[in-house]
Symmetry: C2
Subunit: 394 residues, 2 copies
């Protein structure tokens, strides 16, 4: 495959600036980069020759000679894949990581990686063909499992049975002939928040992803904190209580066994059967099963049993967050992935626990907020993941 | 005060190389730095003119013309201060952070920061005078409290009552006329481990400091992870159990209330009074009080009650470490600060809990070891702390 990308650190910086801030005038870029004028012009020419940047028209006049605007070239298109919560989402973004087109469909990850990754490749190829592209600039992938990032393979996870060590990166790269990067979904969503969400204003924050699988992404100094073997951020299976419920991982009392979607649904079914909630009982009788959306609807509708369940889960999560926040000292905590209806209750309860219990230096002025881009976080983050690689100096 | 230090990134790199690896030949340094020969010579000359590097004699011949050895100049001398565990320790190190001379004496931190910092300044001045120095190159300080690192002030901590916001950095800098840097002791000890201990071989590790106050230092990518407001690593007051013992901080069930020295001593006194331990009872009758060393001696001597206490504390610590290790994914965990006698029991118990419970990606090949430089960690780390600042490009 033909590798494109910056040839040196200045070109890389220029590309990332244009990706993150959009079109800017040559005069302004010259200022920011602090390069000699001739050198700057030469670097721009070399990026243009690779079809990585292009002129976007004249900039607003600053009095003197008009400067032209530069932007990431229209030829730069990233593919983004997000697997999780029973859905496969695939998108095409431009060089500023704005989603141009996307497909989403139900997926059963238990069908195995060949089937799911194969389908993702089909959808990527479709997006590529529809956009009339000879090749994608790169593809980023978010998986609901720990990922050995260097290899691009997921490792054993209850959320992805049968995916252990499957070469996700290698498979997609071979099929589409472009660079591919794979990471854990919470990490990817944290990157998405950093590019386009509340996290944009912060270089040190903790992103907590709720849902079927619970995870954390830590951004430190503007980059993902991945740890020694890209296993950082794993919180799903922290033991909240020694004699807690059995978790999908085989241990007991894990955070996910209290706060994951499956745990809430299981509690809801028990409550419905025991006649402790009319709302949940009616819904169960009606459809024969309950989902997390039913629990959220019941809580939103004022059902006390559903609200108590959500509050209890939030308190458990809050307890874990107290530890993490004390240890990590983020500037802000962003919470994403929870069903719409239960967010206010969840947030109030989490804030209560964290602010009551945490040490002052860690939480004095630390906001806890809900994500404002939720269902785009994983796709924008996946594009950011691969763009960080493509826009790095060779 | 006259500021000395590197004028650019290459000079800074050269100084850190010589600090970390000791004297090296010019030829070798030229290779490592990858500078043009003339430029390299000019940078060395400018560092020599500032009395920061000097020639140490001829290097071993590699066949051609003999190259001379460079080293950090003898004029570079760092002061190191460590406050904690009832002791004030003050040392003088050379430019490679080797301790040349040191003083230690009992200290009561409740006398307040003026008295303790004043005494530290006296001892630093004494070390400076004995070494015939006009001025120290810089001073690093380790305090058993969270520290607002930018300002160099400790913030409220049960371990340092009355020290809140006292200008430790400003006071020492004004008295001695040199740059000063202050940080939390666990952070400083982690730096010490990275310079001279087991941590030398790792760029991502977790250092856990036991003792009167419990703390953590996280090294990530070779640098301290400090968080958004230098509060990272705070684990002492994580709630291990909701209905646990009262802690010095006013909350209940904190890790320190289970595993801190004071907690172990309190349990030992109770056991001695209740006649549950002959060893501890005899010792209490003899001296009217018990210390952590008495507990350690009883445990080492095979006293089952003392051993059970230490094991229980270690299991609590292990539980917290499981969370941290899953979240942080370090390459190795280094444990320091525990009294000599109880270390083997402690380590065995911690390993048991962590390896049984942690997720595979985080702990597959992650060793848990005892610090091998313990009582030097804080002083070497304090010298490293200030040298990182002095040896940074202006």
């Amino acid at each position: 495959m033909t590798m494109i990308g910056p040839e040196n650190a200045d070109q890389a910086r220029l590309l990332r600036l244009l990706r993150d801030d959009g079109p800017r005038s040559r005069v302004e870029l010259l200022d920011v980069l602090g390069l000699p004028r001739a050198r700057f012009g030469a670097e721009v020419d070399r990026l243009a020759a690779q079809d990585l940047v292009e002129t976007a028209g004249p900039a607003a006049s600053r009095g003197g000679r008009r400067s032209s605007l530069l932007r990431i070239a229209g030829r730069v298109r990233f593919g983004a894949v997000a697997v999780g919560e029973g859905r496969l989402e695939v998108a095409l973004t431009d060089g500023e990581l704005t989603i141009i087109n996307r497909y989403a469909e139900p997926v059963d990850v238990r069908l195995g990686p060949e089937a799911v990754v194969g389908r993702a490749v089909e959808l990527l190829a479709k997006l590529q063909a529809e956009a009339g592209l000879a090749r994608l600039t790169g593809v980023g992938v978010a998986l609901p499992a720990p990922v050995a990032v260097r290899e691009g393979n997921p490792v054993s996870s209850p959320a992805l049975p049968g995916w252990h060590q499957f070469p996700v990166r290698g498979t997609i790269a071979a099929e589409l002939g472009c660079p591919v990067q794979v990471d854990n979904d919470a990490n990817v969503m944290a990157l998405g928040e950093h590019h386009a969400g509340t996290g944009r204003a912060f270089d040190d924050f903790l992103y907590v992803k709720l849902g079927s699988a619970i995870g954390c992404g830590l951004v430190h100094g503007g980059a993902l904190y991945r740890g020694a073997s890209s296993g950082a951020g794993d919180v799903a299976h922290l033991q909240v209580s020694e004699d807690g419920p059995l978790c999908g991982c085989g241990q007991t009392g894990c955070l996910e066994a209290y706060c994951g979607n499956a745990a809430l649904v299981r509690q809801a079914v028990t409550a419905a059967r025991a006649g402790r909630s009319t709302a949940l009982g009616d819904r169960l009788a009606e459809s024969g099963t309950l989902t997390i959306d039913d629990v959220a609807a019941a809580a939103t509708g004022g059902d006390p049993t559903a609200q108590t369940m959500v509050r209890a889960a939030a308190r458990r999560l809050g307890q874990v967050l107290v530890s993490l926040v004390s240890f990590v000292n983020p500037a802000i905590v962003i919470i994403g992935g929870a069903p719409l209806g239960i967010r206010p209750v969840l947030l109030a309860e989490i804030r209560g626990v964290v602010y009551r219990r945490s040490t002052p230096l860690a939480t004095d002025s630390m906001p806890i907020v809900l994500s404002d881009l939720d269902d785009r976080a994983a796709l924008v983050g996946a594009a950011r993941l691969i763009s960080d690689q493509v826009f790095a100096a060779r």
